[in-house]
């Protein structure tokens, strides 16, 4: 069972948080800080799963961005690890092809919901390029970079693989 999804940068700033079970607003900030600390403390060669309170954390690092998923003990860690990557691929597709509007926060949340609430019905090639829409800034919301060319999602994904 997936409990929450966090996107945090190396400075510990939350870029996106989505909780699939109720956590009080006041407790979120400290939870997020603890989670980031737990993940940042780990070295590259250590495994991507950390025990954290009642949860297991599965994290994946993309350049300066950490994506952390909190799951329960009985979940399959490796499948979540791959789900995170799938999520990133979907974001990349989505944000590189759709014009950026105020709808993007909602869109991001929709993806979170879709992927992490029902992982088994994931479709990958969902986003078709719409005619007449230019590829624009993909990752600003994530705080990844201001313009795609500088530090866009697409760019750094290629860089890390």
């Amino acid at each position: 069972m997936i409990k929450f999804l966090l996107m945090v940068n190396k400075q510990g700033q939350t870029r996106l948080s989505r909780y699939y079970e109720q956590v009080e607003l006041g407790k979120r900030a400290s939870l997020e800080a603890d989670v980031v600390r737990g993940c940042l403390a780990r070295r590259k060669e250590e495994c991507s799963f950390v025990e954290f309170k009642d949860y297991k954390l599965v994290y994946r690092q993309y350049a300066a961005l950490f994506i952390v998923v909190g799951i329960t003990e009985n979940e399959n860690e490796l499948s979540i690890y791959e789900l995170v990557h799938n999520f990133v691929e979907v974001l990349d597709k989505y944000f590189s092809r759709v014009t950026l509007t105020a709808q993007d926060l909602p869109a991001l949340h929709r993806q979170c919901l879709q992927l992490f609430q029902e992982p088994c019905s994931v479709r990958i090639h969902r986003f078709k390029v719409l005619p007449g829409q230019d590829a624009m800034i993909p990752g600003w919301w994530l705080g990844l970079g201001w313009v795609k060319d500088e530090l866009g999602l697409g760019v750094f994904i290629k860089a890390t693989h």
Binding site: Y81, V98, T99, E118, C120
Partner: protein, 1123 residues
């Protein structure tokens, strides 16, 4: 189809908005995010967000703000709240946006609602009408949005209002709508399972939907359903297998592929379902062997996701009925994982191994080198997982080494959660496998000093109970106690300031109780050591109380010391301490009184505690007569204090807006929220009337419930049941409460050890006490297990084994300690002649009776005796029919004969033994009696029954281990089962191991299901007591049930039917209302209030336990449906 909708959704922004508007809107948010990213300190961020929030506040309250602007504001508010700043003032605007906006605004509004509000939030009620409207909309996008929000947050009480609409959507032509409807129903099932019971058939339709997306969504529900009751869904096994085959065969659209692996997460979900279905069920397992094999074969690609699938597959192979060929392949997979250089795979391998060793301990043996390496791995997570694995393979032989490893790890660990978790396991292992007294006490000392005050309270409790209850032999117990006393005296003589409070408490209790066993030590010394503690500043006042209790118990003769102490404490600031000092003084002066209050060596179960405090009745009624306020339980007081909760959260039928406003007014006026709200919700149609009269019922306690429901006629004079008065409580009360903790069932340490050892490695000779294991520094051969006295065959194998394991131990002596007792090294036991797992005996038996099996394998499970479903893992030979007859009940022990009991049902049988069971309903527990009949003409030896159930507390009362069972005779063993938290159904599994000839151990697995109904007991209360109790309970559930109308008085008939089915106690029936009470064993009560409402029975349940009403309701529904 779905693509069309999705495309429309994605294209919306472009269609509806001019490019410039979009840019402007985004700019504000972009600006915000940009400035936050550039900030360097948390403080700056705080200031920035505060400024932003006040700007937002200004904008939302301005009447000129358009919906479009509001949408943009809402996104910014979401961002602020996501960063952890409270933006609750925008909640109501989010709802407004969802209610009034156009499609785009609605979308943002709904999203904001689902992010901002949680299930219980009162503002959600305002959303219900909008959702209802949107569900009926002809605009697909609106329907979609409404379903999405319903699947995320929806008030539980309002589910009936939307349920029919959501149900309709299951047959909608668009797949995306059907998919979302399934997810909404899944959500409903999670929060209120009894509401969606009637639509199970529709889930089946969703499973066979032509769109794979809809099918995949329905798997969520099925996984949940099957987890709860696998037996009801066995017939679907074929469908799941076919689906998995199709997925593996690449029949799904390529959309579902991830790195060219077809629908990996769907595969994982299906494998989970299959493993639940095939668990302990051979015929079902046989259906899936082929597809599992294919799954193992397909997943050979070198990619993480295929490993994730493999892991799930391996788990499934080991969960279902074993098949040698598959086990072999799965074991190879685990080997690949464990040996992989990739650290994530290694982790997964360890996790798989941890799971698998429960079924096949040999596998750990193969990877012992890797395990040892992992134990010293630099990665904390890997280390942690390895310890978990070791915990699973611990037995009496390797316990010292494993516990030492765990303690080493704990000493260097500073994560609270890990410590709490692991230290509990250490304590568990120590209790189960302790080789000798000194080791046990020493280990527990470590547990207490490392775990300290983080320890779960049950660790010290269990430890003290173990000391207090003792085993069969008094001599051994006294030795253990003596050792504890000695060890604690040594500890106390050293530095004590750093010791955790809980350790001090344990020590003072033990010294108080058992210091007299140690004759060589001067009592004055003990008293001095304890008094010393009292002077320490770091000692908490709770611990002081423990110490004083101990001093009270240390016997006569030292009056001068005690009096000095009492004198010095009598001026203490702490009233409790002062009181205890006073008691101490009195008792030490009056030895007769002491003898009476604190009898030495009194039996543990002989102490009776009057938990209702009835001896205070006189005092309370005097106080009441003198004008004292009646007692209110803490939570009631708190609710009265809490003025924020002004909204009534009871469901209203349909006049929502009206009732909301009226009830919020009344509640604010009333000082007792509880009584008014119960009055209100009793009958929502008459709300307005009641609002007027609410000022009359200021003394809320007297008014018991609804308008025409029960109202107590007399002024209550009897004191409330749970009157607490620590100050008035007599001195011995606390003492007595401590003593009553140990439960009467005598479960002895020795029995525990034997039982566990035999269950861990069935058929292996495990000496019950191997005192040689004391020190790990000793040379390896000394750690060899002693041959079991009556197992002659194994003695010849000892020498072989020692040579075997010395070869293992060449690398590291630890190996041989850890693996000293695995099957491989045990020659001449039955287990090695069969396959690797205990279950193989059954498999073997089956192949012999194949012809008889053919006839009956179609249905090996049968429903028997009410809710009890017994699965027969093995078939029955015709010449040995199950001897199920009521005359077995004649074998029940005399003291149990008079208890109400169920029919005797056959559990399982094989050519030698047949097992039957019977449930006996005792007030405080469910007794499960197992009859073991020897069907052969020879004596069967070493019969041991092992019963496990995760959800229940089980305690073996007697007869679970027998040296021999005569030919054609039957033996009885029974278990007490306790249910602390209700579950709809709980499954029991167990095994009987026995020897037909020496050295040849057979095992016979059995399993069964129990329902909550077995644990419900009538609660006999009077109408007045009922009324009081009703008010003090907090969790309630309401539902309309079927009314049985076939006889004269429908209410009476229905209640009687429920009473017969569920052992409820019908307290009273007044007119069209009835009140009924029951409890979960001797635990949480549940009160039911029933009212005839037209053709239905409106049932209102209350209980202190949040989940209990749901379960009772569920069983009531079932009982009525079956009637």
């Amino acid at each position: 189809m779905s693509d069309v909708v999705e495309k429309t959704l994605t294209a919306l922004p472009g269609l509806f908005e001019s490019q410039t508007g979009a840019a402007k809107i985004t700019n504000r948010l972009r600006q915000l995010i940009k400035s936050i990213t550039e900030l360097t300190s948390k403080h700056e961020e705080e200031n920035l967000i505060k400024r932003e929030l006040s700007a937002i506040k200004e904008q939302v309250s301005s009447p000129n703000t358009t919906m479009k602007q509001m949408r943009e504001i809402m996104v910014r508010a979401m961002y602020c709240e996501m960063l952890g700043y409270d933006a609750s003032f925008t909640y109501i605007h989010a709802i407004k946006l969802a209610q009034q906006g156009g499609v785009l605004e609605k979308r943002v509004g709904y999203l904001a609602v689902s992010l901002f509000l949680n299930e219980g939030h009162e503002l959600l009620l305002l959303l219900v009408n909008t959702v209802l409207k949107d569900l009926q909309s002809t605009n697909l996008i609106e329907v979609c949005m409404a379903l999405t929000v319903v699947a995320q947050v929806f008030p539980k009480d309002m589910i009936p209002a939307v349920l029919p609409l959501v149900e309709d959507k299951l047959s909608h032509p668009k797949e995306i709508i059907r998919r979302k409807a399934v997810l909404a129903l899944y959500k409903f099932y999670l929060i209120a399972p009894n509401q969606v019971q009637h639509i199970h058939a529709k889930f089946c339709k969703a499973l066979s939907d032509k769109d794979p997306g809809v099918m995949a969504s329905s798997l969520h529900i099925y996984l949940q359903l099957i987890r709860e009751s696998p037996d009801s869904y066995k017939d679907l096994t074929g469908s799941f297998v076919t689906i998995l085959k199709q997925v593996l065969g690449g029949k799904l659209p390529v959309d579902f592929n991830y790195h060219s692996v077809p629908a990996p997460w769907l595969q994982i979900q299906l494998l989970r379902i299959l493993s639940l279905l095939g668990k302990e069920d051979q015929s079902t397992s046989e259906l899936m062997y082929e597809v599992l094999d294919e799954s193992l074969r397909r997943a050979e690609m070198n990619h993480n996701i295929t490993y994730a699938i493999l892991y799930e597959c391996v788990k499934a192979v080991y969960t279902i009925h074993p098949k040698a060929e598959l086990l072999e392949k799965a074991a190879r997979c685990i080997g690949n994982f464990v040996l992989s250089p990739k650290i994530n795979l290694k982790y997964l391998g360890l996790k798989a191994l941890t799971y698998v060793v429960q079924h096949d301990a040999k596998l750990a043996l193969q990877h012992q080198m890797t395990i040892i390496e992992c134990l010293d791995h630099s990665d904390f997570t890997i280390k942690r997982e390895t310890l978990e694995l070791l915990f699973r393979i611990t037995n009496a032989q390797n316990v010292t080494v494993i516990v030492e490893k765990m303690l080493d790890f704990l000493r260097s660990c500073n994560d609270e959660h890990t410590i709490i978790h692991l230290i509990g396991k250490v304590a568990e292992l120590a209790e189960k496998f302790a080789p000798d007294n000194s080791w046990f006490i020493q280990t527990m000392n470590d547990v207490f000093s490392i775990g300290g005050d983080l320890l779960q309270q049950d660790v010290p409790n269990n430890f003290l109970r173990l000391l207090a209850e003792g085993s069969e032999s008094k001599e051994e117990d006294d030795q253990l106690r003596l050792y504890a006393v000695e060890s604690y005296l040594t500890v106390l003589k050293g530095h004590t300031s750093h010791l955790p409070q809980c350790f001090l408490q344990v020590m003072s209790w033990v010294l108080g109780e058992y210091a007299h066993l140690q004759e060589s030590v001067d009592r004055r010394e003990v008293i001095r050591l304890l008094t010393q503690l009292l002077d320490q500043r770091s000692v908490s006042s709770e611990t002081r109380v423990w110490i004083l209790s101990a001093l009270t118990k240390i016997p006569e003769g030292q009056t001068d010391l005690i009096l000095d102490l009492a004198e010095s404490l009598s001026s203490s600031q702490d009233t409790v301490l002062r009181q205890q000092a006073q008691e101490l003084r009195h008792l030490s002066q009056d030895s007769q009184l002491r003898e009476w209050v604190l009898p030495r060596g009194a039996p543990w179960d002989g102490i009776e505690v009057d938990s209702s405090l009835s001896f205070l009745d006189g005092f309370v009624s005097e106080a009441l007569a003198a004008g004292a306020a009646p007692y209110k339980p803490p939570h009631q007081r708190q609710e009265e204090l809490c003025e924020d909760r002004a909204l009534n959260l009871e469901p209203y039928s349909f006049s929502l807006p009206v009732s909301l406003s009226s009830c919020s007014i009344t509640d604010r006026q009333s000082p007792t929220l509880l009584s008014v709200s119960s009055g209100l919700s009793g009958n929502s149609a008459e709300l307005s009337q009641k609002a007027g009269s609410s000022t009359l019922i200021l003394e809320g306690v007297k008014r018991v419930w609804g308008k025409d429901g029960y109202l107590p006629q007399k002024e209550a004079t009897a004191p409330p049941v749970d009157e607490p008065s620590a100050a008035v409580q007599p001195a011995s009360q606390q003492e007595a409460a401590e003593r009553i903790e140990p439960r009467p069932e005598p479960s002895t340490q020795n029995q525990d050890k034997q039982q566990l050892a035999s269950s861990l490695f069935v058929g292996l000779g495990v000496g019950s006490s191997v005192s040689l294991l004391g020190k790990s520094e000793a040379p390896p051969p000394r750690f060899r297990k002693k041959p079991r006295p009556h197992e002659s065959s194994s003695s010849s194998g000892t020498s072989k084994r020692s040579s075997d394991s010395s070869s293992h131990s060449s690398r590291n002596t630890t190996d041989s300690f850890l693996y000293g007792s695995f099957p491989e090294e045990e020659p001449a036991t039955s287990i090695s002649t069969f396959d690797h797992t205990p279950k193989s005996t059954t498999a073997n038996g089956l192949s012999q009776n194949k012809d008889t099996k053919e006839d009956r394998h179609a249905n090996t499970s049968q429903i028997l005796g009410g809710d009890m479903v017994i699965v027969r893992p093995s078939t029955i030979q015709d010449k040995h029919p199950p001897s199920v007859s009521s005359d077995l009940t004649a074998l029940l022990p005399a003291d149990l004969k008079d208890l109400p009991h169920s029919d005797v049902i056959s559990l399982t049988s094989d050519p030698s033994l047949s097992l039957s069971s019977c449930r006996l309903f005792r007030d405080e527990a469910l007794l499960l009696v197992i009859f073991i009949s020897n069907c052969t003409e020879t004596v069967i030896k070493d019969v041991a029954v092992q019963l496990t159930c995760e959800e229940l507390k089980t305690a073996s009362l007697r007869g679970n281990v027998m040296d021999c069972l005569e030919a054609r005779s039957t033996s009885v063993c029974h278990y007490a089962l306790l249910m602390d938290d209700p579950h709809t159904n709980v499954s029991l599994t167990g095994t009987v191991s026995y020897q037909t000839q020496p050295g040849h151990t057979n095992t016979l697995p059995f399993s069964g299901t129990l329902s909550t109904a077995d644990f419900i007991r009538p609660l006999v209360v009077t109408t007045e007591e009922y009324g009081k109790l009703w008010l003090s309970l907090s969790h309630d559930v309401k539902q309309n049930l079927k009314l049985l109308t076939d006889a004269g008085d429908p209410l009476r008939t229905t209640l009687n039917a429920l009473k017969d089915a569920l052992q409820l106690h019908v307290v009273d029936i007044i007119g069209s209302e009835g009140i009924v009470a029951c409890r979960l064993l001797s635990g949480a009560p549940c009160l039911l209030h029933c009212r005839v409402n037209g053709a239905a029975l409106a049932m209102w349940l209350r209980s202190p336990h949040p989940a209990l009403p749901d379960f009772i309701l569920y069983h009531c529904q079932r009982a009525l449906a079956h009637h």
